[in-house]
């Protein structure tokens, strides 16, 4: 039996802590914290405390729980709703700390967060931080259906602490790496959210979208045990489940091995890079955790004239080599008594900074275009340049870029389309895009007096974009003026002759393909065949339009008025031209075939060829 006087209660004793006090439900609605206290002491006890909430940005805030007197042997329930009403909207969870002024163990508490409709209740287990087990543990992770597993890690001290958390699955690990938890802060970790958002960890690993189960492991870092508490909470709205789980390991995790990634890197002068220390730990149950990225390491470069380093980021300063060293604290816990031994671990990696060599120039150009490629070299003085190109195996049509000054810092080149595959017609006549694009690899080799040459490459596409290379119009017209008409003695107007009308063709060639293209002369020759076809009187097309034919269409027209006759002449002339147009359209395939037959033999014998056709899509 305890014996004490009221005067002994000079100060409160911190006795009960709880982590993961939910302040909002999964849907964001407010929850009401409720605290039930039973006083088993023989006298009055007073309970007070605080809620330390965490905002979305990781900062914390504190709300004091006013002193509550509880008579001996009594059990009382207090709503803390009024304390959290005015919290920031993004304060979703936190921790709770209670103190009482009767001897330890005389107070039994239960804390819950309850939804307003009473349907949802989230239990917060309370424990004595002085009797806390080791600050490391593991929990099952369940994320199937609408199950969510939240891990709460609470800093039980007034000093910032470090921790690492991992998700272990049969086919791989995901590590949050080393993180900092602020004084008294509660951290909530939701691996399901990280899975759904496909957030990579420090090693670039993802939690597969179909991952639903696994094991969570966490541990304090920094060689001081029993400063963090952790538990997990599994929630399923559809199943009506909100359960809490806590399992502490025998000791915090121990250092197993470490390295720097990458352990060697080559950088162009003027560029930058990143390095990261990687650490693998081992639990007291001999489970390997990691590797994961380590925070707070110190970096150094042994040659700051070549490269400097800040927090793992590399900044090139000159051409040469340097060794990067990284130092950080690692701890081992003895297996028998869990006593930590910490020391500095140092790891090295190498950096080579090479002269920067870049190719400046276009990535694509049309066939026949003149383009300029130029070299940019930084960090060293070059002694020579050599421009060259390569093409895929099997390319036809004599690929060439015709570099104007292939050993100069810059050079003009002529874009020449090549055939791949080396055949005169596109492999797929309905999709010629790939065939029309020739992809060269432009190469630049730069030589130096004090080091080996550097070769850089650039992809360069030469395109033949002209789906319609050209066309020839007949331009059939009777010209200005009109027929000669007269009025007979009966007053009837009639046609005398064609007058000034002279039905001619005046073929015109419209080339879309520019003269610089290797295909221009071939296609121009093709159009010239059409020009000949429009010639009168014997051309395949032009022969269908004649003054005799036109006169025949109008010669017998008469009308009692001059205007009436002109209207009839106009209609008859149009009718004649329409009829002959139709005849000419009927000859379109024949005309095209003849033109291709002539131009097919002209170089380059690619792309603009007959390709076995007897009908052509420009012919209706």
């Amino acid at each position: 039996m305890f014996h004490y006087s009221i005067d002994d209660r000079s100060k409160f004793v911190v006795c009960l802590h709880g982590s993961g006090l939910r302040l909002t439900n999964l849907d964001g609605s407010k929850l009401e914290p409720v605290m039930t206290v039973r006083n088993t002491a023989p006298g009055l006890t007073r309970v007070q405390g605080r809620i330390i909430y965490t905002r979305a940005d990781g900062t914390t805030g504190t709300v004091e729980i006013p002193q509550k007197p509880i008579a001996a042997g009594k059990t009382q329930t207090f709503s803390l709703a009024n304390l959290v009403t005015n919290l920031p909207p993004d304060a979703a969870y936190g921790g709770i700390e209670l103190e009482y002024d009767t001897p330890k163990g005389t107070i039994i508490t239960s804390v819950q967060s309850v939804s307003k409709d009473g349907d949802h209740v989230f239990q917060v287990p309370m424990f004595d931080p002085e009797k806390m087990p080791s600050s490391a543990g593991g929990f099952p992770w369940k994320a199937d259906g609408d199950f969510t597993t939240i891990v709460y890690i609470k800093n039980e001290t007034d000093t910032p602490r470090r921790y690492a958390a991992h998700l272990l699955r049969a086919d791989g690990q995901y590590s949050l790496g080393e993180q900092i938890v602020k004084p008294n802060q509660t951290i909530a970790i939701d691996f399901r959210s990280l899975r759904d958002s496909q957030t990579p960890d420090g090693m670039g690993r993802l939690i597969p979208l179909d991952a639903e189960t696994g094991q969570i492991a966490w541990s304090v870092k920094g060689g001081e045990n029993k400063v963090l508490s952790g538990r997990s909470e599994q929630i399923s709205l559809s199943e009506g489940v909100a359960s809490t789980y806590s399992c502490a390991n025998c000791c915090p995790d121990s250092f197993y091995n470490a390295n720097i990634v990458p352990d060697w890197i080559e950088l162009d002068f003027g560029s930058g890079g990143f390095m990261a220390p990687m650490q693998t730990d081992i639990t007291c149950n001999q489970t390997l955790l990691g590797p994961y990225t380590v925070g707070g390491a110190n970096w150094d470069s042994d040659n700051v004239n070549v490269v400097t380093v800040l927090g793992g980021e590399l900044f090139t300063q000159g051409v040469g080599t340097a060794t990067i060293s990284t130092i950080w604290e690692t701890c081992l816990y003895s297996y028998f008594d869990c006593i930590p031994g910490c020391e500095e671990t140092i790891k090295y990696s190498s950096v080579a900074v090479t002269p920067l060599v870049e190719i400046n120039g276009p990535t694509q150009a049309n066939d026949g275009s003149s383009v300029l490629f130029s070299a940019f070299v930084g960090g060293a003085t070059p002694t020579g340049y050599q421009w060259s190109f390569t093409t895929p195996s099997g390319a036809g049509n004599d690929p060439n870029l015709n570099f104007g000054t292939p050993t100069s810092v810059s050079t003009f080149a002529t874009a020449k389309w090549f055939a791949l595959p080396n055949q005169e017609c596109p492999p797929d006549p309905n999709n010629t895009t790939a065939y029309r694009n020739s992809i060269y690899t432009v190469k630049l080799t730069v030589t130096f007096s004090n080091r080996g040459p550097i070769t850089k490459e650039k992809s360069f596409t030469v395109n033949v974009p002209w789906g319609e290379a050209g066309k020839t119009l007949g331009n059939v017209s009777p010209g200005n003026g009109g027929p000669e008409i007269d009025q007979n003695s009966s007053g009837i107007w009639y046609v005398v002759s064609l007058g000034t009308w002279n039905l001619t063709t005046n073929p015109s060639v419209h080339m879309n393909i520019p003269t610089s293209s290797q295909f221009h002369s071939k296609m121009f020759a093709h159009e010239q065949i059409h020009v000949g076809q429009w010639a009168q009187p014997n051309g395949l097309l032009g022969s269908n339009y004649s003054n005799a034919g036109l006169f025949s269409a109008i010669q017998n027209l008469t009308d009692s008025s001059k205007d009436g006759l002109l209207a009839k002449i106009s209609t008859a002339a149009n009718d004649y031209l329409n009829t002959q147009d139709a005849v000419v359209r009927g000859l379109c395939n024949q005309a095209e075939g003849a033109a291709y037959n002539s131009s097919d033999s002209l170089a380059p014998q690619y792309l603009y060829q007959t390709c076995g056709r007897t009908t052509f899509s420009n012919c209706p």
Binding site: H120, V121, E468, K471, L566, S570, A582, S617, P620
Partner: protein
């Protein structure tokens, strides 16, 4: 703990904007569908609209019709010779264009009934007239020839009504010229493709294309969108690849159209 959750899943594949109720117009790689009764417009983006369905959407009418008499059209005010003694006239002012009258044999598609969910057969158009500029010799009509035509209405504010001897109270059409072609086969790499929506049925050529167009139009002719989609689903089983492609695209289009219609209500 028990709770019912209702998840409202709304997938918006189109955007609604208030613009003037235009007919479907192709804008690069997207279509604008509008409903004639109000100002809601749906944009459906698609890079591969099958040519026939594209021609349908861009046309006001699709018909099989026989060309009648051709009439030449001149300037409203002609510079005819003033002197009675002049015997040689300048005909250029008399020959600015041609009008052809047509007798409809079969109305295959009408955009207004299509977009307003009316029966195609409710449209009683029997004849129409086309206008073509004299210089436009890409196509022409021969009297008494039968044509399958994709027609575009010439707007009343077109300048031809002010300049030429055309009755501005009448509606004239022109053959629709597409961005691509409805005719099958690979493009001619030298001369492109023939892109006029006109098939001279008297040549006997392109019978499969004509059949494809007619089947597609027939599937779209009911008033009910549900019935149209059911018809198109039957066409998907066709061995005609062009028909299948057009039907598949048309189903997607009609589903969007139905959503817009539901939204409007």
């Amino acid at each position: 703990m028990n709770r019912k959750s209702i998840f409202a899943s709304v997938i918006l594949c189109f955007c609604v904007a208030c613009v003037s109720p235009e007919a479907a117009t192709q804008q690069d790689e997207s279509f604008t569908i509008s409903l004639p009764q109000n100002s809601q417009v749906v944009e459906v983006t698609d890079k591969d609209v099958p040519p026939i369905f594209s021609f349908l959407l861009e046309s006001d009418l699709v018909v099989i019709a026989t060309a009648g008499k051709l009439t030449a059209i001149g300037l409203k005010v002609k510079r005819v010779p003033l002197e009675p003694s002049d015997r040689i006239v300048d005909m250029s002012d008399w020959m600015k264009g041609t009008v052809n009258s047509f007798q409809i044999e079969e109305l295959l598609f009408a955009k207004d009934t299509f977009l307003s969910f009316e029966l195609l057969s409710s449209k009683t158009l029997r004849t129409f007239e086309t206008f073509r500029h004299f210089e436009d010799r890409k196509y022409g009509f021969l009297e008494y020839h039968r044509y399958l035509l994709f027609l575009k209405e010439i707007p009343k504010d077109d300048e031809i009504f002010a300049k030429l001897e055309l009755d501005s109270t009448k509606t004239f059409y022109r053959a629709y010229e597409g961005a691509t072609t409805i005719f099958p086969g690979p493009r001619d790499p030298i001369h492109g493709t023939y892109n006029v929506g006109l098939i001279d049925l008297s040549t006997g050529k392109h019978s499969e294309l004509v059949d494809t167009i007619k089947q597609l139009c027939e599937a779209l002719s009911p008033a009910s969108n549900k019935e149209r989609i059911a018809n198109l689903k039957r066409l998907i089983r066709s061995s005609n690849e062009d028909l299948r492609k057009n039907a598949v695209y048309a189903i997607g289009y009609l589903e969007e159209l139905e959503r817009v219609n539901a939204f409007r209500k």
